[in-house]
Amino acid sequence: MNPAAKAVVIGLDGFSWSLARRLIAEGLMPNLKALSGEGELVQMDSVYPTISGVAWSAFQTGKNPGKFGVYGFAELTREMDLFIPDSTHLRSKTIWEILSERGLKVAAIGIPNTYPPRRVNGVLVGGFLSPSLPKAVRPPEFLPELNRLGYRIDIDPVKARESLDHFKVENLEVFEGRVRTLLYLLEKDWWDLLVFHFMDTDRMGHFMFRYSDPDETGADAGNRRYWRDFFSRLDGMLGLLRARLRDDQALIFLSDHGFCRLRYEVQLNRWLADRGYLELARPPAHDLDFKALSPRSRAFSLVPGRIYLLGRESWEIGRLDPVRAGRTREEIIAELERLEGPAGGKVCRKVMRREEVFSGPYLSSAPDIVIEPEDGFDFKAGLKQTQVFNTGPLSGMHTFSDALLYVRGRRGYPRRPSIPDLAPTLLKIFGIEPPPDMDGRPL
């Protein structure tokens, strides 16, 4: 890639390569089509476990989770207390910091797992799960500007789940606030690297994916229209961007995972309990009351598709010695590979041992087994669930192998790109040699 003076990276959370192609084919995204003529929309791999907090951590660091220690939106302590990892748990330097140290100016807006905001040479605004905008903005002097522009962190997913109509209104408001802020930053032009994240595409996936399919029977016509309207607006944003960028400004956009239709939620803790791997000492107070596990348990699961063996070194209630833990893991893997859905067909596409997926100093806190499901099966981990397979209100789920990458002016890749490749690629654009411990390689 040619050296450029500046780079703009647009994060389109969960906007899959397949969906992008379909929307172009449907004629809904003419600007995306024009851009794809100036480069190439390529399919990219996400990370395991395939969830935004982990994927964008890999984006920021160029590393696999074994080197930054975050494996999901929720983790358990040794004593089975639940906690939500944030940027303080991200045990690695990020590209924001590397560029800042070189005196380059960074604007990083709305990227998951950047809260609490680290100190950068420029501005950083935390993404999903930041408790409030004032707490998410660094330096605080940027807050009045964001308020003036109507920038908001995210829709309220709790309200969205209660009412799709509420979601539809709020989602557009949030999206428009982001577009205004993006245009403002493009205009301001003080940055060298601008990374701007849109969560709204992911929200569309979770709450409305069923309307992506024109052939879906019984789909509400108004919701279908909304779906098409939203992606037309997204395309409008890309058009504004395309018109404003100069030749010396590199343009990259990417999604962190794909989306597919969710058919069944698969309650892995129920499944483990049915097979005698998980026992409760008392009725759990709620779905995530892992303190209710009996020391006789051998394994438990966390979302999405993470299984942990209760080894005595790693867990306070753990009783398994390493030999028994290893044997139990092989038994569980064999059973998972045989697991079939309610209508037949495999549930697990890949069942992986942690050392096959991760490497680095934080391997010991990784799940012992990581599962990539077949499309349609979304792994859940409630402790109060009575059935392995059930259905819920969400109609979309993440996929590993269908993320999207676009680099303007670039066609043909020597290998299949994956998210950790982005950080070293960006460093190269600025003429910086990527640190040797990055797992990704420049594209």
């Binding site: 969830i51 999901g72 939106f73 929720a74 639940l82 939500i84 999903f128 799960l129 408790p131 409030s132 004032p134 009045p144 308020n147 309220d156 997913p157 709790v158 969205a160 789940r161 979770h206 939620e265 759990p284 107070a285 709620h286 779905d287 995530l288 009351d289 979302v303 999405p304 979304d378 859940k380 981990a381 409630g382 109060k384 819920g392 969400l394 789920m397």
Partner: protein, 267 residues
């Protein structure tokens, strides 16, 4: 003036100021040590007789000792005690069942408070919160506006420089006044000791356990402690490093984060 006199005099000033500016005010009394100290200061500010109502938000889940204490001292101190409950939610069986704690707090505390404020038309409320209690409270001011939806608008917050308390309030909002904002947990206990303020026995050790913070029975856990006198409690606090609210079920911010993750299907 010693430290306690200074703390007292500043609080008394804020209480009198709130009364003079707003007239129609109430003191929110949870029966805990802080709001009981606040009540004590209000009595001092007006020479023994509190000239405005004392509002108690009753979730129906408080400790029996708290109800007894409330009624006993409401009588002794001749308080105009108002009790506000969200009867509808209580009748519907709302309770802190599992992960629904936040919904329970919203219904039985926030909604009940709204009901009380609406019924009586209070323009300002005196609250016994302290800056050292909790992360999010560190940003509170002595006078903090809340809008119609009870949302706290950081942006619309008037600056408080020196003693220029900004006491203007829009018509549609009520103001929260925090006369104890500058006190610490140890200050409260030192003052309780000096003034011999009555507090419920829940704070004193029984069988090796005591409560550092009290509220609803299902959501409060006692801490290990042998401190059964005020002196022992003060000595214990000076040597402890765990937070006062560690016995509380879940902090609201963390609970809300969980709720968001659950709504997205990530839990």
């Amino acid at each position: 003036m010693n430290r306690l006199d200074e703390l007292e005099s500043k609080s008394v000033y804020v209480i009198r100021e709130a009364r003079a500016q707003f007239g129609k005010i109430a003191l929110l009394w949870s029966v805990g040590k802080d709001s009981t100290t606040l009540l004590w200061l209000a009595r001092k500010a007006f020479l023994g007789e509190v000239p405005f109502p004392v509002l108690h938000i009753d979730t129906g889940f408080k400790f029996p000792e708290m109800y007894r204490f409330r009624d006993e001292f409401a009588r002794k101190w001749k308080l105009e005690l108002l009790v506000s409950r969200n009867e509808e939610a209580i009748a519907a069986g709302m309770g802190p069942d599992g992960a629904e704690k936040l919904a329970c707090c919203n219904a039985l505390k926030t909604e009940a408070l709204k009901i009380g404020i609406r019924r009586h038309g209070f323009r300002a409320l005196l609250l016994g919160i302290r800056r050292d209690e909790h992360g999010i409270r560190a940003k509170e001011r002595y006078f903090s506006p809340r809008d119609e939806d009870f949302k706290w608008d950081y942006q619309n917050q008037p600056p408080e420089l020196w003693d220029q308390y900004n006491t203007r309030s829009d018509d549609d909002s009520h103001l929260r006044v925090h006369p104890l904002l500058h006190w610490t947990e140890v200050d409260i206990w030192n003052y309780i000791k000096r003034e011999e303020i009555p507090i419920t026995d829940l704070y004193r050790s029984r069988n090796g356990k005591r409560f550092r913070s009290i509220g609803c029975v299902p959501c409060c856990a006692p801490v290990d402690s042998d401190a059964s006198t005020i002196d022992e409690i003060i000595a214990e606090l000076k040597s402890t490093r765990t937070s006062e609210r560690s016995g509380r079920a879940q902090d609201k911010e963390a609970a809300y984060t969980m709720q968001k993750l659950r709504a997205m299907g990530y839990m």
